[in-house]
Amino acid sequence: MGIVKKQLKRPEVLAPAGTLEKLKIAIHYGADAVYIGGDAYGLRSRAGNFSFEEMSEGVAFAKKHGAKVYVAANMVTHEHDEEGAGEFFRRLRDIGINAVIISDPALIEICAMDAPGLPIHLSTQSSATNVETLEFWKNEGLERVVLAREVSMEEIKTMRAHTDVEIEAFIHGAMCISYSGRCTLSNHMSKRDANRGGCCQSCRWKYDLYEVPFAGKRHSLTDEFDKDEPFSMSAVDMSMIEYIPELIENGVDSFKIEGRMKSIHYVSTVANVYKAAVNSYMEDPENYICKQEWIDELWKVAQRELSTGFYFSTPSENEQLFGERRKIPSYSFIGEVLSYDEKTKIATVRQRNHFSVGDDIEFYGPGFQHFEQTVDVMWNDEGESIDRAPNPMMVLTMPVVQPVSVGDMIRKKK
């Protein structure tokens, strides 16, 4: 008798898309779904948010590529903030948005009543940490719950065994140090409402730590330690690239990448890596190995050190940004391929950051295509040989050592 193979469900790679351009790039680079913000009801007041027209274009593009588009409407409303939300959700539904991500029960109710047919996902702002909560929201008609980032792998496994509601979990990116939503530091320190898009990351500030005033005088602890280090609450970022099998086996339906404020370089790279890893595992789970090149690739767009958050243990001081920062080699995104001539092996490139002849550069494209080369020669749009490409968005041509495709990206080490 052969061993009955467990049916693996392919998880969705869900990427952030702060703009229409990022949406297209994320999907081009393998994202199965993207999440975006609308003009209202979101939490990222400074991220590029989408107009309805841009959403329509984004949805059309996504449909063509078999991808989905979700809209984050995860504000916690005060009186009157919810006005117009019904119309907003209806509009999203009619545009063809696949789901909305909400934490506020008022907005959930409005969406369910006024825009029936538009699936609702519970936002991580609601800090769902147990299966009973998942069942509560499932009974309210929600399609999916985005788990709190404080949940462990073991806890996900237990939850999965007891509910069939879709589970979405963060697998990469920056983390709130608090239970998301349970933090009003910005409200109290800067009069900006963290749950209405005003978070000013007060957790990442430096603080002094004191004991109670003794005999009328504050006693600073910060000053008395061997290490001269202020108190802070800054978390390192998360990367679960080395644990793709565990996430799939334990039934996570959607792999969420954080970062609607992040660059094209970040979005394309991270989506590309996780899609490659998921594809590799789904094709042949038994012989799967996590490739070092995937890990290396993620470090190229890392802004902070990387950890596995709460998945395997409660984060210690090593998962907070104390002391000297380890130097992370940083890369800059220098251009994108507009066209490629197979006969002459010459690529036409749009510059996105300055670079020069002699630079070692790296091309990458969807499907985890990669190669490095040195810039020996390049020409401007008038065919004149140039040493440097200093002008933003200038179009230039250069010979390449391997074939490239439209939409491939170029980076170099800083």
Binding site: V76, T77, H78, E79, H80, E82, S103, D104, P105, A106, E109, I110, T129, N130, V131, E132, T133, L134, E135, F136, W137, N139, E150, T158, I177, S178, Y179, G181, R182, C183, T184, L185, N187, H188, M189, K191, R192, D193, N195, R196, C203, Y207, D208, Y210, E211, V212, P213, F225, D226, K227, F231, M233, F310, T314, P315, S316, E317, Q320, F322, G323
Partner: protein
């Protein structure tokens, strides 16, 4: 008009004094399920407190308002049955999973929704009332002018903190322990009793109390809240459930503070309220408040436009 004053409890003897002082509802619980409580009562003590309150013809609300991870959830049904058995008048709940269990197990246990920062509009509160909540605890970040907007919209009662500390951050991480581990090797006391606080380097007046327990790390606003001088406004808006929170105000001082609020309630109920009385009672509260902590009105008087 019947105003209900709820007060936290740190001991059985304090509970007796609070009931004698005229408090209507005792608020307490155990550390496993309750958040930021002055004392961790055993099951026997929770039963004794409930019986004590009922002997006085008063009520109890028991805190079951933590964010529950599966380990706690596994112990929850038994605890809720226990609370039903001792005839707890209500439980405060912040995790919808607890509501799910109350319904699933068909428990006769009224609940108050206490989602902390997440309770900021009438429509949200009504969401929970429609799902069985008898009341909900309004977030500290909701100003008076917004409470005014909520008037006549609510399907249940809205509880307002009128005295005590305001939590502004809950992390699952042991933030103090992590910091101490980084700066020195010896372990330090990170409990509430250690009385640690943070301050912004350029704002010496800031004083954010911080401690750890099994729910994580908790950080509090610089000033504790005292709405004594604005109780008439709350009464006018029909916000008649007031909470006194004694996390940082121990012993008899807290009882004496409760008496000031009971006096205010009686004055309002009997039409004796005056600004002079309010100021006098407020002054009493200030003098009874711990020396090392300050009071203000929090977000109450802020314009809704001020914090966006």
């Amino acid at each position: 008009m019947k105003i209900n004053i709820t007060a936290t409890v740190e001991s059985i003897s304090q509970a007796e004094k609070l009931l004698e002082a005229g408090v209507d509802t005792l608020y307490f619980g155990g550390k496993t399920f309750g958040l930021r409580l002055p004392y961790n009562f055993s099951l026997e003590e929770q039963q004794a407190l409930t019986e004590l309150s009922h002997r006085f013809g008063k009520k109890v609300t028991i805190a079951v308002n933590g964010l529950m991870h599966p380990e706690k959830m596994a112990q929850l049904p038994e605890y809720l049955s226990f609370l039903e058995g001792i005839q707890a008048d209500a439980v405060a709940v912040g995790d919808p999973g607890v509501i799910h269990v109350i319904r699933r197990d068909n428990l006769q246990l009224p609940f108050i929704y206490d989602g902390h920062t997440m309770v900021t509009s009438a429509r949200q509160m009504n969401f929970w009332y429609k799902r069985g909540a008898i009341g909900s605890v309004v977030a500290r970040e909701v100003p008076y002018l917004e409470l005014k907007e909520m008037k006549n919209k609510l399907l249940g009662f809205g509880e307002i903190l009128v005295y005590g500390a305001t939590c502004i951050h809950q992390s699952k991480r042991p933030l103090l322990e992590n910091y101490f581990n980084f700066v020195e090797s010896e372990a330090r006391d990170t409990t509430r009793e250690s009385d640690l606080f943070l301050s912004e380097p350029k704002k010496v007046e800031t004083h954010y109390s911080i401690y750890e327990d099994e729910h994580g790390t908790h950080i509090f606003a610089t000033n504790d809240l005292n709405l004594m001088e604005h109780l008439d406004k709350l009464a006018d808006l029909n916000f008649l459930h007031w909470k006194l929170e004694g996390l940082y105000t121990p012993g008899d001082n807290f009882v004496e503070i409760a008496k000031q609020f009971v006096e205010a309630r009686e004055a309002l109920e009997q039409g004796r309220w005056s600004e002079d009385l309010a100021q006098e009672l407020s002054k009493n509260v200030s003098s009874l408040h711990p020396d090392k902590r300050a009071l203000d009105t929090g977000f109450f008087l802020m314009s809704p436009e001020e914090v966006k």
